[in-house]
């Protein structure tokens, strides 16, 4: 993902660590990216909030939500955060095998979540709630769709990482790469925590 810093001595592997603050460039960059993402999701969530009540009579949030279903898929995503953190922890112990296992489990749970979302979308669609049906539907699909794309990108990245670890092709510090992916993954989870409460649980 990220380049290593230009460095003034020849130990390429350690590049990026000799910094003014002693912090890793990559991690700093990731945190900034996540800070920036706050404003992206904030915008989408507020748009949804503004528009959630603007729909045709029988196709509003209260009519279409299936709280038990969404709760379970939220639970799945929450647990994927646990497996992710276990992957990071394994990577820190240089335990490649467990790292790969936990990363794969994380990707799997993520995929389960996305599958749940796809199911949810199709069932909403069958009930007549298309993307263009109402302001509520446009902003709902856009918000959750953006989140879903973030999860999907995360899944692809996790699987690629598993592959790269197997082939020993990770560029840079392996522990750190796993940690960075973890940060991204947890952030996506955190966003879902907000969405789950603000969008699903609080009635319009």
């Amino acid at each position: 993902m990220a380049d290593t810093a230009v460095h003034s001595d020849a130990h390429i592997e350690h590049a990026g660590h000799h910094t003014s603050t002693g912090l890793s460039n990559n991690k700093l960059a990731m945190w900034m990216f996540l800070g920036s993402e706050c404003l992206l999701f904030g915008g989408l969530i507020s748009t949804y909030m503004l528009y959630r009540g603007r729909h045709s009579a029988n196709l509003g949030p209260d009519q279409v939500w299936d709280i038990p279903f969404t709760s379970s898929s939220s639970f799945v995503l929450l647990m994927s955060s646990l497996t992710m953190v276990l992957a990071v922890s394994s990577a820190n112990r240089d335990d490649d095998r467990n790292t790969k296992v936990w990363l794969s489990v994380t990707a799997l749970l993520g995929a389960l979540f996305v599958a749940g979302q796809v199911y949810e979308f199709t069932s909403f669609y069958r009930e007549g709630l298309g993307f263009t049906t109402s302001l509520f539907s446009s902003s709902f699909y856009t918000l959750t769709g953006f989140h879903g794309v973030h999860v999907s990108v995360g899944i692809i990245m996790l699987m690629s990482l598993v592959g790269m670890i197997s082939k020993n092709k990770v560029v840079g510090d392996k522990k750190e790469v796993v940690e960075l992916f973890g940060l991204y993954w947890h952030f996506v989870d955190v966003v879902w925590i907000l969405i789950f409460t603000l969008v699903y649980l609080i009635p319009a």
Partner: protein
């Protein structure tokens, strides 16, 4: 960028020695799951909760949010600079969008 003279090995103090044990992570995950369950219960008992419903849900949400942020994402143990980067974004987002919704009379209904 530093020269060799200022060279210090920083991976140690950024990666290891902080954070939780795996068991700790599992406990947190269980806690999070429990809160989620409480939230769902909340949503079904809305009427009996009355005025406590909304603030209750929001507080639970915030607790979950910060648990993941502080423990899973290590923000609690990591450099303050990382926190700064994230919290600036978070604060701006909350501040601006709340004002934005207020000017559109979102909270008046």
């Amino acid at each position: 960028m530093t020269t060799a003279t200022e060279h210090h090995d920083s991976h140690e103090d950024t990666h290891e020695g902080h954070g939780l044990t795996d068991a700790g992570y599992i406990k947190i995950a269980l806690f999070l799951a429990a809160i989620t369950a409480v939230e769902v219960v909340f949503s079904y008992t809305q009427d009996s909760l009355g005025a406590a419903f909304l603030p209750g849900l929001l507080i639970l949400m915030a607790v979950k949010f910060f648990m993941v942020l502080l423990y899973f994402m290590h923000l609690k143990f990591d450099s303050k600079l990382f926190s700064l980067m994230f919290y600036i974004g978070m604060t701006l987002a909350i501040g601006c969008y709340l004002v934005f919704l207020t000017t559109l009379h979102f909270f008046e209904s």
